[in-house]
């Protein structure tokens, strides 16, 4: 399994990661090596095996839909990169 530079660029875009052009060949090599490693799995017949997502086969616990915390907005926004009037600020998205 071998990924080329355009594959890496596509994956990086999907993951919203900026990768410098100089680093792309090394990522292509590393990712190809990792895919070679994980492809050892393909030799195993797993046709009748149920996938395991939780090691204890537990199912998601539900709770009543009630408020458990007070208003923490000011505290949570103290670590925000940009805030205005209690709102998170981002670059303009609508012209």
């Amino acid at each position: 399994m071998s990924l080329d530079s355009s594959d890496v660029q596509k994956i990086a875009h999907l993951a919203r990661l900026q990768i410098s052009a100089a680093d792309i060949p090394e990522y292509a090599k590393n990712l190809s090596d990792i895919l070679d490693l994980v492809n050892q799995m393909q030799a195993i017949d797993t046709a009748d095996i149920e996938p395991l997502s939780n090691p204890l086969d537990a199912v998601q616990r539900l709770r009543a839909d009630i408020t458990s915390e007070g208003d923490l907005r000011d505290k949570l926004q103290t670590v925000a990169p940009a805030v205005e009037r209690g709102l998170f600020q981002v670059p303009k998205v609508i012209e």
């Binding site: 797993t46 204890l56 940009a82 998170f88 670059p91």
Partner: protein
């Protein structure tokens, strides 16, 4: 006092030999004087520590002290600490002052423990050498040219260097057990769901589990008594009663059935480690245990399955770091996409980027069945191996790592080499089973770890088995040379 275990320090506090403030100040001074050699702490929280110690001393005077009141420890910098930077070893969170406490932190605070600071780690817990930290590598106290292991490398090194009597860690693929082995300390990864993941920054949510890192099994049991328990804030927390992990430490091991997986004694295993593990097994036989060979036939598939499941979950979990609500934001973004891409490109280190990309690829359209689903099917096969084996034996033993601590830089150029260091630890996370590492020997001046694996919820049994070994041997009491340079007051070591 730096040679005393938590158990001994608790007795000293009870007897009034020293106050928690005196104990805490002594450790803070030691960190201040010595940690430049190891880089095991990212943040030292001196002011908060002294305040907590004063409160603990007051609690003791009021007759309200519990077993952990006044005892110092350090938290891996993956656990959110209200009002204190929680970086997760990443530039992404270098400016992140956590606005709340992780449940583990909350529980130690409620028990009256004193947090000395936050320990160094591989970025977002991705690594086996602690070389992936934004804050620089940690050095192994046994040989400062060597790595301490990872990702909880700062916690392991700090305990080994006697900069803290104990520390918390987390283990997604071996991140408690592997550094514990490489630094000659005791660490336990509990059953998945035993310790709350709330406020523990997520790497791979179906694998992540917090646990104790300490000088002895008895100390780890004391810590687990504080850490374990159901938490409604963690959706995969176990709703099961928590036993007293200290209660069964002294049970004799007569009749204990130990399984030795033949796949763990493979060609890749360093011969000195194989010999030390065999010698430890002999010691258990002398304590009344019996041994038998077992097989975990799918062991070789653990690394491939892990390196799909963990990166897939990571790519999803780490999508929250987008420069909007917290964490690093790039300068002057031209639009939203530019902000996401540059904030993440600048904020994440190369191993984190690699794993996010592997996960993104594995989960992308057309590849899901071949990778993610396949890995989850293999995961079931690996778990079944353990379930079958643990019907024949009480515990499984083997090496924690294939090699002792390696040199800084030795494995950084090839990610696959680094991944193979976790071949004996990853499978437990896939199966969700508890496992621990305890010191059982040395080679070329570096510690060797014995891994002990138990059935689901069998933490008390593992701690009992480890404690009995530590009553009969002194590997866990050995310490690196040069911990107390002559320029400092040597009597402090007593």
């Amino acid at each position: 006092m730096f040679e005393k275990t938590l158990t001994e320090l608790a007795k000293g506090l009870d007897a009034g030999d020293y106050s928690s403030v005196e104990l805490t100040q002594a450790y803070l001074d030691r960190i201040n004087n010595e940690d430049s050699r190891y880089n095991s702490f990212i943040s030292v929280t001196a002011e908060q520590a002294i305040a907590q110690a004063k409160a603990a001393d007051n609690r003791r005077s009021a007759g309200d002290a519990g077993p952990f009141t006044g005892l110092p420890l350090a938290h891996k910098d993956i656990f959110c600490t209200d009002g204190v930077r929680t970086s997760c070893g990443s530039k992404m969170l270098d400016n992140f002052i956590a606005p709340y406490n992780a449940t583990v932190v909350e529980k130690f605070n409620a028990a009256g423990a004193v947090c000395l600071g936050k320990t160094n780690m591989d970025e977002f817990a991705m690594g086996s050498s602690n070389e992936n930290s934004f804050y620089g590598p940690v050095r192994n106290p046994w040989n400062t040219d060597c790595v301490p292991g990872g990702s909880s490398g700062g916690s392991a090194a700090a305990v080994a260097a006697r900069l803290t009597p104990a520390a918390t860690g987390t283990d997604t693929g071996g991140s408690i057990r592997q550094p514990a082995a490489l630094c000659g300390i005791t660490g336990i990864k509990p059953t998945y769901g035993r310790v709350s993941r709330y406020g523990m920054i997520a790497y791979a949510s179906s694998l992540d589990q917090g646990g104790p890192m300490a000088r002895s099994a008895a100390d780890a049991a004391m810590m687990l008594n504080v850490m374990a328990g159901f938490d409604p804030r963690d959706s995969t927390s176990l709703e099961r009663p928590v036993p007293d992990y200290c209660a069964e430490l002294n049970q004799p091991l007569k009749g204990l059935k130990i399984g030795l997986p033949k796949e763990f004694f493979c060609a890749e295993l360093n011969s000195a480690i194989a010999a030390s593990v065999q010698a430890a097994v002999k010691e258990f036989e002398a304590l009344g245990a019996t041994t038998q060979e077992i097989s975990l036939p799918n062991t070789g598939l653990a690394v491939p399955a892990y390196y799909i499941i963990a990166p897939s979950e990571a790519s999803s979990n780490l999508s929250r770091f987008d420069g909007v609500r917290y964490g690093h934001r790039c300068a002057d973004p031209v639009d939203l996409e530019d902000m996401y891409k540059r904030s993440r490109g600048e904020g994440f280190g190369s191993e984190v980027k690699r794993r996010i990309m592997v996960g993104t690829y594995a989960l992308s359209e057309g590849f899901y069945d071949a990778y993610y689903k396949k890995a989850q099917q293999i995961r079931r096969l690996i778990r079944q191996d353990f379930i079958d084996a643990l019907q024949q034996v009480d515990v499984i033993m083997g090496p924690t790592t294939p090699h002792p601590a390696f040199k800084l830089g030795e494995k950084t150029s090839n990610p696959i080499d680094m991944y193979m260091e976790d071949i004996f630890t990853l499978s437990l996370n896939l199966a969700g089973l508890p496992g621990m590492s305890i010191p059982c020997g040395h080679t070329a001046g570096l510690p060797i770890g014995l891994q002990i694996i138990g059935n689901y919820f069998a933490e008390a049994k593992l701690l009992n088995v480890a404690h009995q070994f530590q009553q009969a041997t002194d590997w866990h009491q050995q310490q690196p040379a040069g911990l107390y340079p002559a320029t400092h007051n040597a009597t402090e070591a007593s």
